[in-house]
Symmetry: C2
Subunit: 104 residues, 2 copies
DNA sequence: TTAAATATATCGGTTGCCCAATATTTATAT
DNA sequence: ATATAAATATTGGGCAACCGATATATTTAA
């Protein structure tokens, strides 16, 4: 997989990449969820469930960046925002709204 | 640059990629614009102007896909949506709203 | 006419998102 | 115990978005 963690200068949604991570942070801010639940929720919104090869690496990176926390329960892992993840999300939401304000 | 045009099964914003193209289509639906104007408008929303190496290849691809039209005036090229671009944008907007409904 | 400025275009390299396929771990049923 | 199922994880390959640098074309200024 080869994840090289570089210090993130900014937060998610500072460019048009990072939208999946932004969405994940947003969904976790409403309710802690397992990878499966997240992928179901995203699948419902988009119309197609992201494959495991999409969702789990994304979660791994967010965890390595310290934006989410993990809590293992049986065969599932429940994710929630860290304090830094919450701060990051707030900034990202502002940016997102500024960019897509009048689209909705 | 090497652009290989594959038939697009869907429209923009069917996954988390294609957000720049989606934004471009959206902005052009409100007003025809040159590459420079587009890049300024996006820069204002995002806080940073996309580099020429980002915006012009994107416009080229959209043109090759038949989603936008070009009109040359002096040293500028003005872009506007084609009929297919308008249809594509409508579908993309619906998807976008479904995915990001409660973020705004 | 030549020079400077502006808009557009391309190149090389990096990151993030995507899938299909496969593997691993854990829980449950037989 | 063994098989099955479910959640998580990894691999490999491709596309989209990004930048900095450089190049080309056109307009405007000197």
């Amino acid at each position: 997989m080869k994840i090289i963690l570089r210090r993130k200068k900014e937060v998610y949604c500072c460019d048009m990449r990072g939208m999946l991570s932004f969405l994940i942070l947003f969904l976790l801010s409403k309710k802690e969820m397992s990878g499966k639940e997240l992928s179901d929720e995203i699948g419902e919104r988009k119309g197609a469930r992201p494959s495991p090869g999409t969702i789990y690496p994304a979660l791994k990176v967010l965890n390595l960046q310290g934006l989410i926390k993990e809590k293992k329960e049986g065969k599932e892992i429940f994710y929630s925002l860290s304090a830094e993840g919450e701060r990051s999300l707030e900034v990202a939401k502002e940016r997102f709204c500024k960019v897509f304000m009048d689209v909705l």
